[in-house]
Amino acid sequence: MLELIVISTLNGVLFGMLLFLLSSGLTVIFSMMGVLNFAHASFYMLGAFFGFQLTKWIGFWPALVLAPLLVGAIGMAVERYGLRNTHKHGHVAELLLTFGLAFAIEEIVSMIWGKSPLDYRVPALLDFPAFTIFSTNYPAYKLFMLAVSVVIFVALLIVLKRTRVGLIVQAALTHPHMVGHLGHNVGRVFMAVFGVGSALAGLAGVIAGPALVTQSDMAASLGPILFVVIVFGGLGSLPGAFIASLVIGLVQTFAVALDGSLASAFGPLDPSAGPSVLTDVWNVTIAQVAPIIPYMLLVLILIVRPLGLMGTRES
């Protein structure tokens, strides 16, 4: 039991950090540019697939550097040639553009690499158990993922709090219109922000690929959860995104690990009663419900605190 808690906590924090890596880029892009980048999870997926392909050609470690750069370049191109032209038609048009893009990217990926999961292996250097808790070996690769996430997190914090660029980004988080008025080359700033955000998503994909599944529907399964994180944490709030990521990461990991159900806790219902909604709910295990827990949290936060945990902005 204790083993379950420790392992799940480690995995949960790991998943949470991964979510934060993705949602922080999404939050900054949304706050600065008002664009909800539907294709953000697609960039994550591109990172994983590029990472896989580059690893096959030139090895994992060069791929770790090159793949995010490639994704970042794609992101910048999307901003420059796509979003900038759609900006005049409003935020909904921009959102729809990124939606179409996400759709197209998924199709292209499955066209080139197929629809089955890829054999994206953990690099040999890190393929050993880091430590053993009780009876389970905890892979070193996962610690590596955790380490990378923490380093990026700390770097983000430093950039935001201690550099001029960071100051601009912070201002844009709550007052996006002012950024333009302050005389900064808005076009270039946007392109850079979009590029960096996409590169971060790509990086998350490169390192998460070997540990989680690398498959052409990655983006479609992770995308909605990302949005839940954003709404749950509150728009435009990086601390909110951080807390929301950890909460959702931990809750989902624990849910998957737990195999309980109402039936296992309270005993089976009267077997003579036919199938009904009640029997379904009674017999479902927490693990089966795990995928929808984030959405239930979404409904909860909408009822209790519609602005999100730490949100101050309406839109």
């Binding site: 909904v92 729809l96 939606f99 066209m111 379904d280 709910v281 419900v289 959405y295 409904v299």
Partner: protein, 430 residues
């Protein structure tokens, strides 16, 4: 939502000549629906028409949200799917309990299924608008789609719920076994729903929904609560989506969790947006086009979803008013008599644009069929995906086509400029 389109979605029933034309359009539509299966009577055509009819109702219901009230939803299929399940359960109940409810009433229960869910979840969902509403709709859509696999008793798990539409009490001697009878049932409900949804746009609620779309802040200062307006629009959209879902359940005699899924939500968004959200007939055009594309393309290529995505991106970037928007743009020119000045530039642009499209298609199909080696058949010429000749041709078509096409499009823009100026001088453009 601040777009540059300035048209309003109305064809007002002004007394006199305009009114005659307005009612005339509706009558022609109804007549066409009645006559269509007599002209194209093959089984395949009937199936297509049935699918298109359902798609039109679904798309029109979606436009109540998007075009009328400015609510972008990524989860509209939820009401559609729940309507389908409600209809299936109702049909099975009618048969097992022997109730005297013939099949034509069933779509109403589909509508109720969609409506009830919209009423329950709608109040919370419409608290926020814009991009946040879009995200929430995505989450709710996933929630319901995933829940449907858990609640097997209601949703039948992976297999879904099946039903037999011929087992209900007959009406007018029709058992609704043959597809022709199903088509007429769908056509009937299509006309009913379209009239109802159009009438809705002419009510106080309909007009205020437009105001909420344009400026929710200002709406408060004329005495309206935008939240209530959005909620009511949401409920209506849910009802009609449920009707479409009921029709689908009748058509296929099955309802499963795919009906509620993200792909279905994406498709209706495509249809409505490509058709054009600013005009009532936009979603009708979009539904027809997208359904035909879907039916046609799935046989031709495995990458059909990619083509959808590209078309969608193209429309978003270059014609956000959709096909309806593009067509209506020509109206002032037609009235001013200057349309013919623009036509030559269109004709010139056709060749390079088609060349560009062919190049893109060749490229995509080459990648898609690379491992399979199956030849690509374009205009009767067979291209082998692994041959470098194909790649060169594709590259030339794409690069050359794009270059020349851009030049011709600039000429179109020039011609439009001149024609519009003349139209403005003659008073046909504001």
């Amino acid at each position: 939502m601040n777009t540059a389109t300035t048209s309003t979605s109305k064809a007002p029933a002004k007394p006199g000549g305009d009114g005659l034309r307005f009612y005339g359009v509706w009558l022609i539509g109804i007549a066409a629906l009645i006559v269509l299966p007599m002209i194209f009577s093959s089984g395949g055509s009937l199936t297509s028409f049935s699918l298109i009819g359902i798609a039109i109702v679904f798309a029109l219901s979606y436009n109540i949200l998007l075009g009328q009230t400015g609510l972008l939803s990524f989860g509209h299929a939820v009401h559609y799917g729940l309507g389908g399940f409600a209809a299936c359960h109702m049909m099975n109940a009618v048969v097992s309990h022997g109730w005297p409810i013939p099949l034509p009433f069933i779509p109403l229960f589909g509508g109720l299924g969609g409506l009830v869910f919209a009423m329950i979840i709608g109040w919370v969902m419409t608290k926020r608008a814009g991009t946040v509403f879009a995200m929430i709709s995505l989450g709710i859509g996933e929630l319901v789609a995933s829940s449907s696999l858990i609640l097997r008793s209601v949703f039948g798990g992976e297999a879904g719920i099946t039903t037999d539409r011929t087992a209900l009490p007959k009406m007018l001697g029709w058992s609704f076994g043959p597809q022709l009878q199903v088509y007429y049932l769908i056509a009937f409900w299509l006309v009913l729903s379209a009239i109802a949804m159009y009438a809705l746009t002419r009510t106080p609620l309909g007009r205020i929904s437009n105001a909420v779309r344009d400026n929710p802040e200002r709406v408060q200062f004329i005495g309206y609560d935008p939240h209530v307006v959005r909620y009511l629009a949401f409920c209506f959209a849910g009802f009609f989506a449920g009707v479409a879902g009921g029709l689908t359940a009748i058509n296929f005699e099955i309802a499963n969790s795919a009906l509620l899924g993200a792909i279905q939500s994406g498709l209706v968004l495509f249809s409505t947006f490509i058709g054009g959200t600013a005009f009532f007939f936009g979603p009708i055009l979009g539904a027809i086009l997208v359904t035909y594309l879907q039916l046609g393309l799935t046989n031709l290529t495995t990458a059909w979803q990619l083509y959808f995505g590209i078309i969608f991106i193209g429309i978003v970037m270059y014609a956000p008013g959709g096909i309806a928007g593009l067509l209506m743009m020509h109206r002032p020119l037609i009235r001013a008599g200057t349309l013919w000045t623009v036509i030559p530039s269109y004709l010139v642009a056709i060749v390079p644009t088609v060349a560009l499209a062919c190049g893109v298609i060749l490229t995509i199909e080459t990648v898609a069929r690379y491992s399979g080696g199956e030849a690509i058949n374009l205009f009767g010429i067979g291209f082998k995906p692994q041959s470098p000749v194909t790649w060169v041709v594709a590259a030339v078509l794409v690069v050359g086509g794009a270059f020349v096409a851009r030049l011709t499009w600039l000429r179109i823009a020039d011609a439009w400029d001149r024609a519009s100026t003349v139209a403005r001088d003659r008073g046909y453009l504001a």
